[in-house]
Point group: C2
Chain length 309, copies 2
């Protein structure tokens, strides 16, 4: 059994059973891949794929089990390389953070500034996407870390590290009637059209819950992928915005006013997602601790071992 064969296998699965595409993606020849898969099947004594004549049509039951194990082996092979780099040259390497707009725009900048000051030789990159995309990237090894608020509990191979809780605010144009109220209520908000995050994003479900629990049906006229869009539409008077408090900056957003809404919605927790089986280089530990000071190396390791404590 060769690691190559497992790489071929993984790529075929990734390319939805198209062997030619897999060969292409791996910059090798079609026959080579075909042959190695056959050899692997022969060695293990089972068919990994079902074939209709000369097409791969599906993965067999043993094939699934094999694929799963193969993926872990390949990840470990990557880990070996990471270990090599780690001790080889501690201060260079790559670091891919997958995150959502809100984090990238409002939370991460100061952290990243400190990080690149401390680790100038690390090639850092940010990949922005939806929570689902983010999780996929991390679990496939394309990214090292996910930072998001929702929907990353779905992936088995990711371990979630709670970082901090945050609340929401309501943003309105200056002189908006809501600014006159002594205390902001859900009922008063519901009188206006609402602009907020898209579903499956930054704690959107918490907003829905709050309104539903009071029997209110808010009129959401626009859902956006990021806070900047929301603010823009609030500015032009399309409605009131509900967004994460950290996404409002009085110095910057002079054309808007924010009203604290912490008492109206459940707080959300932002988490770091990290692939359970991946080797963690020292600068990644360092980054995590910068981002959430309570997550020191020891704590992280404990959480990685016992996911649910």
């Amino acid at each position: 059994m060769k690691l190559q064969q497992l790489r071929y296998l993984r790529e075929i699965a990734k390319q939805k059973l198209n062997l030619s595409k897999a060969a292409n993606a791996l910059h090798t020849s079609q026959p080579g891949v075909s042959r190695q898969i056959q050899l692997l099947e022969q060695e293990l004594g089972v068919e990994i794929f079902t074939r209709h004549g000369k097409r791969l049509t599906s993965i067999t039951q043993p094939g699934l089990a094999i694929l799963e194990t193969a993926q872990r082996m390949l990840q470990d092979a990557d880990n070996l390389k990471k270990i090599g780099n780690e001790f080889n040259d501690k201060e260079s390497g790559t670091f891919v953070i997958a995150t959502t707009h809100t984090q990238a725009r409002y939370v991460l900048p100061p952290v990243i500034k400190r990080f690149i000051e401390r680790h100038p030789k690390i090639r850092l990159s940010l990949r922005q996407g939806s929570p689902i995309e983010i999780s996929t990237w991390v679990s496939s090894g394309e990214a090292d870390l996910a930072i998001a608020t929702e929907a990353i509990e779905l992936f088995d191979e990711l371990v979630m590290l709670p970082c901090y809780e945050w609340n929401r605010c309501v943003v309105v144009p200056p002189r908006h009637p809501l600014l006159q109220l002594k205390e902001l209520t859900l009922e008063s908000i519901a009188q206006y059209t609402i602009i907020t995050y898209d579903f499956a994003f930054t704690g959107r479900s918490k907003i829905n819950q709050a309104f539903e629990s009071r029997g209110l049906k808010p009129n959401v006229v626009l859902t956006a992928l990021d806070a900047d869009v929301i603010k823009t539409y609030v500015e032009i008077g399309l409605g009131v915005g509900i967004l994460a408090k950290m996404a409002f900056d009085p110095a910057r957003d002079k054309k808007l006013r924010a009203i604290d809404a912490a008492h109206l919605f459940e707080p959300s927790t932002t988490r770091i997602g990290i692939c359970r089986n991946s080797y963690i280089r020292h600068y990644i530990y360092d980054f995590i601790e910068m981002f959430a000071t309570h997550l020191d190396t020891e704590t992280i390791n404990r959480l990685l071992r016992n996911p649910e404590n």
Copy 2:
């Protein structure tokens, strides 16, 4: 990077850094091993071993990390083969149970009888040893399962599945004074010389605890590795025996009398130890469920994922 290289690495570590012995154990040549290790070190960019001239003297820090990952990869490689066999021929295979005397002699026989009736083509073997040895075998993959009562919590890579609790009894020759008592007490036992299990065996520590908590210093004249030896010496009048209740069979042990001692000593729990990352063939699930009916496949899988629930 080649799996062979990792095998060489693992074997060198196993042979305490003696490269020649490793080459021998793997039925290959010394230079081949040496060379491949060098290539691996070169590829990963770190030294795995420290060398004094031409001797391997120790494993470096990165070497340790590499070794650990390599071992998991090799185990996964084994798992792939197991998966192959599993689907290839469901009813043949091998099954090595590592266990202690007490289990092998008094508990396992009926279970094993049923097992070989149901899976006649499986090559089953029992390996008897001390709890430490047993754990080592399972964690190194030499055995599939450990069945024991103590000391198997020490190995990180083993998951323990609690099977059943058991208590102790005191065995004495016929017409022994202890048989006249209305109720057996630790004080009355302590008046006699005692024969029981060796340290680190079948719940020996529970026995010590009980006496100590009453401020008693029992006079243990003989410690044995198994119940048969204990019984033999009790028969010849050397003292009273304390052993697992299941190790006394009135039909067989006609020259002895047993007195229940469940109220004197904390019960012990017998557990199955299984290597966290190994692929479990269906007949092994089957065996475990025969041994402890509450451990069905689903329960086992859950425990494997969340070790401590």
